[in-house]
Structures are given as structure tokens and as C-alpha cells.
């Protein structure tokens, strides 16, 4: 069960010709795929593409109705390899993932499909996780498009343009026998808007048609001599066909007048067009509807560039500003080459005036454009901007909010246990992995030395061959199935690594929004789940394997970790630490609990609390937990000054705080309150009797205390 359900929204996907579709960017892309008669879809979750995968999964019924095959792929490589279906058959297919990381994983298959070329339209939808809020290294997918020769679309960020790009992308792919990448920036994926829908199209040729009528063309397989032919074919046939399609169908756009008195112009990536217009509007050079004073050439196709169009645009200009986000500046380099070849005298101004790194927001573009105008068109240039930042004494009061584990997260106690073990045996090299568990590197745990990629935690520790202390490698269940089993565990067994491998099994691909994976405990009507990780580890030769079924048991966690660190057994030590993702668990259980309450059934709820009278405000408990519901509040004691710990009502009663105060011998302030709604008769009676005795004693004590009080 995914974190967010699109069951309601996917109804919009049935919209027909002429209806106005209003919704999120990813939903619009899904609709555009159906309008394009796509025959198969695959992909791997990861922000900002997770929701696209969730939409596909929730639209399963509609996809089946249209004979569209959908797969939640095991990895991006799996998804990319699916495009093989378009090599020999006129099948349109689309796959999606988070880029640049997903493209890295997929690149083997991508190189193959790009080399052999495609018959049916093949589209790769990449969620470009670049800029604010990104969780990955800042690189460009553009490089992959260039090295494998796949066309890269970067449409203007409005739903109509994005939907058009999908439809035209398939045609471009078929016209040039080349896979096409559609770049969706983070904000465009989650952007709401409207477009006029068309009817969905059932694929004329389906995946089962293809399977029943196999065809074979040796020239499409990457093996000598075909691989050498492919390279020639790419240059001599597919490249010119691609250029012709982009040019003839005017995929790139021109705005503003043909010339400007100052002989300047702007070339902008399609995805940055809106920010560019806003910057120009605020400088008085454009209106809110895109009417520009300056000639503007908008690249909805950022690879390849169209030499004739570039020549035409730059011919009568002395300087052109290129707005190209990220680095290296591939487009700027190519433009310079094209200008030289065309023997034009036009300056291409890019990264010398725009920042080399970072997102090109409207603010950044305005500043760069201002610089450009001051040099090349001083008469319309804005004055130097002045800034008035918040004074440091105020600014430093505003704390950072690093991401952290959710309330009640079952992964937190694992790191608490590691922290406690660290007190005994000192620091250890910890190879971290991708997933929620990577938050361990942040406060309050500060655990983890490196992370090398998804499912690569164990592999990242393989060079550490200890004589004394063992390295610990962490991996999530998502990473384990993505490739960790083979490249991590199997490799460690094969190479006799002596590392401790911790596989965190919370039942979902949790960090990406709770999608099911092979070891999920959920019953999924469309997938096979419940494949235990331990079985897989033993299957590749793992000998020392322990499965812990309750991560909140700090002592068991710590003791098992200690045993793994100290045991004489050789080879990798694998601990599978299981407890369900609390976010998903709560979403499943809360409605059930509400219903039970409504029906008058007995319902128990547990939560924790801190006695502010005995809490001395040391906050050790917080440093060993970091739970969002474990916070602080002003000290109610008139003499004490430091804030006391406090558990707020968002507590889900996971029990970690109590376990920590026991295991770390902290303090007696934590209590667990069990609230019973609609209690049974016997239970009520017992509580009434003991309550009466306790109250009697308490009242007597209170009277005595008052008599001898201040």
C-alpha cells in the first residue's frame, strides 16, 4: 500500500475529447501516455517519480481495460530493459524513474536500446531531482542523452506543453528510430494545472500480439558487426531524421520580436521558460502572458540542437544569453560550435554571467539577465539590485530542520542500539545505504561514514578487511531487492568479507512512499509478496543470519549487534531487523481503531509521557531517540530553568523511549499510559477497587503533607 492513494484521481484519466483535465503534472503525463496509445509501462519509484508509479498502480484496472501492460520494475535497469519490446515491434512503451541516480542504474540497458534503435516509440520519463529539496548528487541527465544519442525533451512547464511533448515524443521516437527522454523537473511533477483532454487510445498492436508473432532482426542486436553498423546508422540515418522531425514540427518555440535594437536575444531551456518570463516581467521586459520585448528561442528539445534554427536565431545578434541549468554547460558548448561552423559573429553568454551551479529560479535569472543587459543593452538594463538580508543575530535563531525518522519509526531503535554499542566498543566504520535509514547520518545519531548508492551498503564496506574491529554495512529492504542481494550479500559471501550487514526490513520501499517489494508482508492482488529476506540470504550462501522481528527491543538489537561484531564465525554476518514502517501501519490501523470505537468495542491505545517533576532537563533521552513526538517544553518547576522533555499527543506508543531509559539507565521519568476505551465489566471493577484503596491512601497522605507544609 503506497503512502498516497490516487484511486480517486485516476478517475480523471478516463476524460475524453474536449474535456478539461485539472490535476497534478504526473497525472497529466499518465493521461498523455494513454492518449498516445502506449502498450506497456514500467518504472521504479523515487522522488519525484514515486507518485507517477503510484498513479500507474492505482490505475491498474483502467490499464488492463485498455490492454496496457504495467509493471512495477525491480530496478531502473529492469525498467529500461523492458524497452526491448519496442525494438522489433511497433509497440509504444514508456518507463519512468528518478534521475540522475535511476539513469545511472539503467544505463547498460539504455546504451543497448539506443544502439540497436527502436521500431515502436520508446519514451523514458525522468524525474529530474535537481535543486531545492533534492536528496541526490547534483548531475545532469543531459550527459546520458548525449553519450547514447537519445533525444531529450524539456517542455515548458505547463500541462498543455507537457502533454504535447509526450505525444510528439512518441512520433519523434518512431520517425528517428531513437528512444526519447522526457525530463520532468521536480516542481513540474507536483504542479497542478489544466489541459484539454483527448480520448484514450487502445494500442493497435498489444504486447500479447507481439509475443504471439515473434520477429527477429539480427541487425538490431549489439554484437559485431551490427554494433559498428549501429554507430553509422545513428549518424547517417537516425540523427538527420530526428533533426528533421523537430524542425518540421516546430517543437522548439520562438517568442518576442525577430530582432531587438540592441541586437540581443535569449536562448532558454523549455523547463526554465516560466522562470525566465517572470524575471523578464519584473524587469519590465515581458508581460504576464509571455509577450516579450526581447527575441526568445525556447528549447523544448534540449538535445539535439537544430543547427539551422540556431543559425537563424543568432544571425542578426551580437550577443545571446543562454539559460542552461546545471553543469557542465553542454548546450553552451554546442551553441559555440554551431556558431563557429556558421561563421557568425555572435557572443554566446552563459556560465560567465549565470551561476555555474544551483537551480535557476526566477530570482537567479533576474540577476543574471540584469548583468547581461548592463553589458550588452545598458539602455534597458535595471539598476544593481540591493539586498537587505535578515541581520545575523536574528537569522541565527532560526534552526535548521534536517530530515529525520518519523514518529514511532522502527528504524530509530536500531540506531539507538548502535549508539549504545558504540559506547562499549568505540566507533566503527559504517557503510550506509539509500533509504530512510540514511537519516542516521544526521543528528541526533550522527552514524554512518559513506553511502555509495542504492543497495550498495554492503559493497561499500567490502574493502574493509578487519583484523580487529568489523565494519558495519546497512541496507534497506528496498535496496536489498534492488541489487543489494547480488552486489552486496552474495559478493560478501563469495569474497569472504568479515563485515556485519544490517538489513532493515520495514515491509515496504518506505522512503519512496511505501510501495510493495518482494518481502512485503502485505497481500497484494497484483504482485507476489512475502518472500523472506533471510531465505534469500541463505540462498546465496549466507551462514550467520539472524532475524529480529521487533526492532523496538533495544536490548535484543544491541546484544545481537554485539554478537555479530564479536563472533568467531567467518564470512559476512547478516542481521535482518524487522518491524513495519510506522507511517504505513498507522494509516492502516487508525481507521480500524476509529471504527471499533464507534461500534463501542474495547480499544486500547498506548502512549508515553514524561513526568516533568522528575525530569531534570538533561535531554539524554532525546539524544538517543530524536522522535518527533519527544520534544521539550518550558520547565514548570519555578526553580529549574532548563526545558524539560515532553511527549506530545502525536505519540504512537512504540515504546522506544521507555526501552531507551531502561537500556541506557537514564531516568525514572518515562511512563507508559494505557488508555482503554469501552472497558469490560471485570476490568472496570478491578480498576475501581484498586483505585479506591489508592485514593484513600493518597488523600490521607495529602492531609498530612498539608499539615506539615510551608
Amino acid at each position: 500500500m503506497a503512502e498516497r492513494s490516487f484511486k480517486h484521481e485516476v478517475k480523471k484519466l478516463t476524460a475524453g475529447e474536449g474535456e478539461t483535465f485539472t490535476g497534478e503534472g504526473i497525472l497529466a503525463v499518465t493521461k498523455a501516455l494513454l492518449q498516445s496509445g502506449v502498450a506497456y509501462i514500467g518504472g521504479y519509484q523515487g522522488s519525484p517519480i514515486s507518485h507517477l508509479m503510484d498513479v500507474f498502480a492505482d490505475a491498474n484496472d483502467l490499464l488492463e481495460e485498455l490492454d496496457v501492460h504495467f509493471e512495477a520494475s525491480a530496478s531502473e535497469a529492469t525498467a529500461a530493459a523492458m524497452l526491448a519490446a519496442s525494438v522489433n515491434y511497433p509497440l509504444r512503451g514508456a518507463v519512468a524513474w528518478k534521475s540522475v541516480v535511476g539513469t545511472n542504474v539503467a544505463s547498460d540497458a539504455l546504451s543497448n536500446v539506443a544502439s540497436g534503435g527502436v521500431t515502436g516509440g520508446a519514451m523514458i520519463i525522468v524525474g529530474e531531482d535537481y535543486g531545492e529539496g533534492s536528496s541526490i548528487m547534483q548531475e545532469r541527465t543531459h550527459a546520458f542523452a548525449m553519450k547514447s544519442q537519445m533525444w531529450l525533451l524539456d517542455p515548458r512547464p505547463n500541462l498543455t506543453s507537457i502533454v504535447n511533448a509526450v505525444e510528439q515524443g512518441f512520433q519523434l521516437s518512431e520517425a528517428s528510430n531513437t528512444p526519447v527522454m522526457l525530463e520532468m523537473r521536480v516542481r513540474s511533477c507536483h504542479m497542478t494545472g489544466s489541459f484539454i483532454a483527448k480520448d484514450n487510445i487502445r494500442p493497435a498492436f498489444t504486447v500479447s500480439d507481439a509475443a504471439e508473432n515473434p520477429t527477429r532482426d539480427l541487425d538490431r542486436i549489439v554484437l559485431p558487426p551490427a554494433n559498428f553498423l549501429h554507430e553509422v546508422e545513428k549518424i547517417e540515418k537516425r540523427w538527420p531524421a530526428g533533426l528533421a522531425y523537430v524542425r518540421d514540427n516546430k517543437l522548439n518555440e520562438w517568442f518576442g520580436p525577430d530582432t531587438h535594437p540592441s541586437e540581443i536575444g535569449i536562448i532558454v531551456q523549455g523547463g526554465l521558460y516560466n522562470n525566465c518570463n517572470r524575471a523578464m516581467e519584473l524587469l519590465g521586459l515581458a508581460d504576464a502572458f509571455g509577450t516579450s520585448d526581447i527575441p526568445l528561442y525556447c528549447l523544448n528539445v534540449t538535445y539535439p540542437l537544430i543547427p539551422e534554427e540556431v543559425k537563424e536565431f543568432c544571425a542578426d545578434k551580437k550577443a545571446v544569453l543562454v539559460l542552461e541549468e546545471g553543469q557542465p554547460e553542454f548546450i553552451e558548448h554546442e551553441l559555440n560550435t554551431l556558431i563557429r561552423r556558421a561563421e557568425l559573429d555572435c557572443k554566446i553568454i552563459g556560465k560567465d554571467m549565470m551561476p555555474r551551479a544551483g537551480e535557476y529560479s526566477a530570482q537567479v535569472i533576474r540577476a543574471g539577465l540584469g548583468k547581461f543587459l548592463r553589458r550588452f543593452a545598458p539602455d534597458i538594463a535595471p539598476a544593481q539590485e540591493s539586498s537587505d538580508p535578515l541581520p545575523a543575530p536574528v537569522a541565527q535563531e532560526i534552526p535548521q530542520r534536517p530530515a529525520g525518522f518519523c514518529t514511532g519509526c522502527p528504524e530509530r531503535p536500531i540506531f539507538t542500539a548502535m549508539k549504545l554499542l558504540e559506547r562499549e566498543i568505540g566507533p566503527t566504520h559504517i557503510s550506509a545505504d539509500i533509504g530512510c535509514h540514511l537519516f542516521s547520518i544526521l543528528p541526533p545519531f550522527n552514524l554512518g561514514n559513506t553511502t555509495m548508492g542504492y543497495g550498495l551498503g554492503s559493497a561499500g564496506a567490502s574493502a574493509f578487511k578487519p583484523t580487529g574491529k568489523r565494519a558495519i554495512a546497512i541496507m534497506g529492504d528496498g535496496g536489498f531487492w534492488h541489487n543489494g542481494l547480488t552486489s552486496g550479500i552474495s559478493n560478501a559471501v563469495f569474497n569472504k568479507d568479515d563485515t556485519v550487514n544490517l538489513v532493515i526490513d520495514n515491509g515496504y520501499s518506505a522512503a519512496t512512499g511505501g510501495q510493495d517489494i518482494p518481502s512485503s508482508r502485505a497481500k497484494n492482488a497484483n504482485r507476489v509478496t512475502n518472500n523472506p529476506i533471510e531465505k534469500a540470504v541463505r540462498g546465496v550462501g549466507g551462514q550467520w543470519v539472524r532475524t529480529l522481528t521487533r526492532t523496538y527491543d533495544i536490548k535484543a538489537m544491541r546484544d545481537t549487534l554485539r554478537e555479530a561484531m564479536l563472533t568467531k564465525t567467518k564470512g559476512p554476518k547478516v542481521i535482518v531487523a524487522q518491524s513495519e514502517c510506522m507511517l504505513n501501519k498507522q494509516r492502516r490501523e487508525k481507521p480500524l481503531m476509529r471504527k471499533a470505537l464507534k461500534d463501542g468495542q474495547r480499544v486500547e491505545r498506548e502512549r508515553f509521557g514524561v513526568d516533568s517533576e522528575t525530569c531534570t532537563g538533561d535531554h539524554s533521552c532525546i539524544r538517543l531517540s530524536g522522535c518527533p513526538s519527544l520534544s521539550i517544553k518550558p520547565n514548570p518547576d519555578p526553580l529549574r530553568q532548563h526545558p524539560v522533555a515532553h511527549v506530545d499527543n502525536s505519540c504512537v506508543g512504540c515504546g522506544l523511549c521507555g526501552e531507551v531509559s531502561h537500556a541506557a539507565v537514564l531516568c525514572p521519568s518515562f511512563y507508559k499510559a494505557k488508555l482503554v476505551s469501552n472497558p469490560g465489566r471485570w476490568e472496570k471493577l478491578r480498576a475501581r477497587i484498586s483505585g479506591a484503596v489508592i485514593r484513600f491512601i493518597q488523600q490521607r497522605d495529602d492531609r498530612k503533607r498539608l499539615a506539615r507544609a510551608f
Binding site: L285, F289, S361, I398, R401, L639, H662, L666, I694, F710
Partner: protein, 481 residues
């Protein structure tokens, strides 16, 4: 010359993961679309939502006469935002920090309650950011600042904070849409309509009010209620400076409660020795009254058992966990008494034998290895704790009492000595008591830190024994977790 659109409205929402910022953004767009506006919302979810902060951005505009759609930006541009809605005080501050709120233009709607960041929570002492500075900046850097405690408003109405924010936005009248359209948007979404409308109403009303910080409890000096109390207070008033009496009264009340009137008299005697060297404004006596009372009421097993078994405590728990009438509440304490704590509580001769690690200790040890789940709402454990708290009468003979009084006297004698030549240094010395807190490992670490600072300080030549040195040493001890 291009025409410019003056009727565009840009709205930035700063919220923490799980606070419903996305829901709020959707509501706003639905209101605007209902009035024929073009609305666009964008956000960057992902890991930022796992307890981090997220910016949602909404633009509202209208097509022009020719029917051309406006070009919408995808993130708030500093200096070009009309409305900011922030779900927490430091997020309000972040909006100002990032330049989203500008003087003369932006309507800034922000909650004044705090959700503490991990750096603030995990500090060993007090790591909280300064709220007043943020409020002042919010007022300076906005056209209008609407600030109130939205969490309290949420609790009052059993609603969600997004509904409060939506109500405050409507109540600010910064958007050109009538109240009914906002309420209709809530109804149209069809989820928790009634409680959302109640929250909306509360937010709407509070938006008209004055800027209000969350209420903080005040602690007036306690009035004596018994003859003993009045005697003690008049002794204190005669012996000690007026300025210190607030803390002294709290200290007396605490120590009478902790032990008895004689113990409170010992407190006054000890204070007088410090006050002799003090001078106006008598900060030293005042702070010594605080820290001496805290040290003298050190946390031992007797005290914990006493506090855990009081009637007032049970009421406080019910209130804190928001127990409703008819709900049974059972309370389990997580206690980890060690043999050491037991030994310290026992009368000195027996206690020392236990602590020295002989046969008795070895026999008892297994019973103190594990943490205990102590159910104080059940009779058995209640009576055990009640019996422990009754050991109060024997406290003066306990190992711990003897040790603590020795430490206190040593601490006070240095304070008195310092006060005779440098009152500021004496004040900083007194504040070292802050280091000694907690139980078990935490207590031992604090005590170690204190003793280390003490011996290093006393080894310094007299002219180097300064307030600044002590202050820095204390800060350093708190900084290393």
C-alpha cells in the same frame, strides 16, 4: 510596451511534513478556480517531508481579455510574494529569512507556537531559539503580521492546523474572495468537514486579534499556609535581602515538602553565609537560593517514589494523555533502580556494606540488573513505592544524604570565599550546580564534570579564578554530549 498583470496573487506556504500544507494549497486553488481564476500550485515533497520543512507555492491569476493564459512561476520569488502562511514560529522566521515576506507588500500569517528542531531539543541545557526576535522581524518585514498560537487553536477545536491556517487566511481578507467560498472549498473536499469548519471559524476569528505568543505559566512566590511556614518566611525576610525572597520562598516550600522544617532552616542558615558578602542587586543570593534549594532536594529513590505516588500526579497524567471520561488509564513507570541507589538510600552502616561490594552485594545484584516496569495504578507497586517514600524519616541517616551534604558544604565554602573578593565569580560558581542533574549514568557524568571543573578552577592562581573562566567551563561541559 507589454502590459503587466497587477491582479496576480502569489502565496507561499511554509509547513512541516504532515501538517497538511498540500491540503491547504489545494483548498486555496479550489476557491480561486471557483471564481474563474487560473490557479497553479507546486511543491517539493520527498525527504523534506520526513519531519523537515517544505514550501508550497500557489499562484492565482486571470486570463487576459484575449483569453491568453498567464505564465506562472514555480517557486516564490523573494520580494514578489503577496501572502505567506507559516505553520510554526521558526517557519515564519524562515519565510522572513528567505525574503518571501517584504515590508509594505506581504500579508504574513504565522503561528507563534514552537515545534522545536532537533538541535534545540538535544542541547544538554537550553538550546531554544529566541521567539521574540522572530516576532519583531516578522512585524518589521511584512505589510501586516497576523500571529497567534495555531496549535492551541487546533487543540481547542479538535481540528487540524491546515484548517486554522485556511481560516486565518480568509480572515486576513488578503484574498478577494468571500468567506462562503472558503467554507465551500472545505465542504467540497468532503473530508472531516465539520471539524475543519470549526477550525476554520477559529482561525478566521483569531486573525482579527492581536499578535499573541503562546501563554507561559508564571510562578508567583508561594504564600505560607502553616504556622511553620510563616515562621520560616519571617526569618528569611529578616535575614535575607528582599530581592532574593521570591526564590527563597520557592526554596523553602520545596525543602519543607522534600524533608521537613529543620531542613528548611538549614537552607536559610546556609544562604545567610552567602548573602553576607552580597551586594545590590543581590543576584548572588537570589541564584544561590535557587541552586541551593535544587541541590538540597537532590533526586533520590525516596523523592521519586514520593512524587510518583501523589494524587496530583495521577491527575496530571490523565490531563497530559488527554484521557476522556469513561476511559481507564493505567500507568507503567520505566524504572531502573540499581543496587547503588538502594544502598545510598539505606542508613549509612548497612548502605555502606552493600555498596562496598561484599557478599551481600553479590547476593542482591541479580535483582537490580534489569529495568523494572512499575505499574503505579496497580495496588502492588503503588504500595511498594508508597513504602519507599515513607523512608523519608530515615533520609538523614542515608549514605547519599551524608555525601550530598558534604558536597554542598564544600561547594558553598568556595562560593563564600569567592564572594568575599568577586561577587560575579561567586555567581558563576553557584550556577555550576546546573551541571549536576539527572539519574544513573547521567548524574554520574554531570558530577564528574562538576568535580573536574572544580579541581581545575581551584588549582588556578587567585587572579585567574574569574567569572568568565567559570562561565566558559560550564558552557563547554554542556556542549559535549
Amino acid at each position: 510596451m507589454p502590459s503587466s498583470s497587477t491582479d496576480r496573487l502569489s502565496i507561499a506556504i511554509l509547513a512541516l511534513g504532515g501538517q497538511g500544507g498540500g491540503v491547504l494549497a489545494d483548498w486555496i486553488q479550489n476557491v480561486a478556480r471557483g471564481h474563474g481564476w487560473v490557479a497553479q500550485g507546486t511543491s517539493v515533497p520527498g525527504v523534506a517531508q520526513r519531519t523537515g520543512s517544505t514550501v508550497y507555492y500557489v499562484e492565482l491569476a486571470r486570463a487576459d481579455a484575449a483569453g491568453r493564459a498567464p505564465i506562472m512561476a514555480q517557486m516564490p520569488m523573494p520580494g514578489d510574494v503577496d501572502i505567506v502562511v507559516a505553520s510554526e514560529l521558526m517557519e515564519t522566521g524562515r519565510a522572513v529569512l528567505r525574503g518571501f515576506s517584504s515590508a509594505g507588500r506581504t500579508t504574513l500569517i504565522g503561528s507563534t507556537h514552537r515545534i522545536y528542531a532537533i538541535s534545540e531539543k538535544s542541547a544538554m541545557a537550553d538550546g531554544r531559539g529566541n521567539s521574540e526576535k522572530i516576532i519583531a522581524a516578522a512585524q518589521e518585514r511584512s505589510k501586516r503580521f497576523i500571529g497567534f498560537d495555531m496549535e492551541a487553536a487546533t487543540d481547542r477545536t479538535s481540528s487540524v492546523i491546515s484548517a486554522i491556517m485556511f481560516g486565518a487566511l480568509a480572515g486576513s481578507e488578503a484574498l478577494p474572495f468571500p468567506r462562503e467560498s472558503f467554507e465551500q472549498a472545505i465542504r467540497d473536499s468532503g473530508i472531516a468537514v465539520q471539524s475543519n469548519l470549526t477550525g476554520f471559524e477559529e482561525g478566521f476569528t483569531r486573525a482579527q486579534g492581536i499578535i499573541a505568543l503562546p501563554e507561559e505559566a508564571e510562578h508567583p512566590a508561594p504564600e505560607p499556609t502553616t504556622e511553620i511556614g510563616r515562621q520560616l518566611y519571617s526569618t528569611a525576610a529578616a535575614l535575607l535581602p528582599q530581592e532574593a525572597l521570591h526564590n527563597v520562598a520557592h526554596g523553602l516550600a520545596r525543602l519543607v515538602d522534600y524533608q521537613d522544617a529543620n531542613y528548611a532552616r538549614l537552607y536559610l542558615d546556609r544562604l545567610r553565609a552567602i548573602a553576607e558578602h552580597d551586594e545590590p542587586p543581590y543576584n548572588l543570593t537570589s541564584e544561590a537560593a535557587r541552586h541551593l534549594a535544587l541541590w538540597m532536594s537532590y533526586e533520590d529513590t525516596i523523592r521519586v517514589a514520593d512524587l510518583k505516588t501523589r494524587a496530583s500526579r495521577m491527575e496530571r497524567v490523565r490531563e497530559e494523555v488527554k484521557a476522556q471520561d469513561g476511559q481507564l488509564v493505567s500507568v507503567t513507570e520505566f524504572m531502573h533502580p540499581r543496587l547503588q541507589e538502594l544502598g545510598e538510600t539505606l542508613p549509612a552502616p548497612i548502605g555502606r556494606r552493600l555498596l562496598s561490594g561484599g557478599l551481600l552485594a553479590r547476593l542482591m545484584a541479580p535483582f537490580f540488573k534489569q529495568g523494572r516496569h512499575v505499574r503505579t495504578t496497580g495496588l502492588r507497586w503503588f504500595l511498594v513505592l508508597r513504602a519507599t517514600s515513607a523512608l523519608r524519616g530515615l533520609r538523614r541517616r542515608s549514605v547519599r544524604y551524608v555525601e550530598e551534604q558534604e558536597r554542598i558544604d564544600a561547594w558553598l565554602s568556595v562560593a563564600a570565599d569567592l564572594a568575599s573578593r568577586d561577587v560575579e565569580a561567586a555567581l558563576e560558581w553557584i550556577k555550576l550546580q546546573q551541571l549536576i542533574k539527572g539519574y544513573g549514568d547521567t548524574f554520574e557524568r554531570g558530577l564528574r564534570n562538576y568535580l573536574a571543573i572544580r579541581s581545575e578552577f581551584l588549582a588556578l592562581p587567585e587572579q585567574d579564578q574569574t567569572a568568565a573562566w567559570l562561565h566558559q567551563a560550564r558552557e563547554q561541559a554542556f556542549a559535549q554530549s
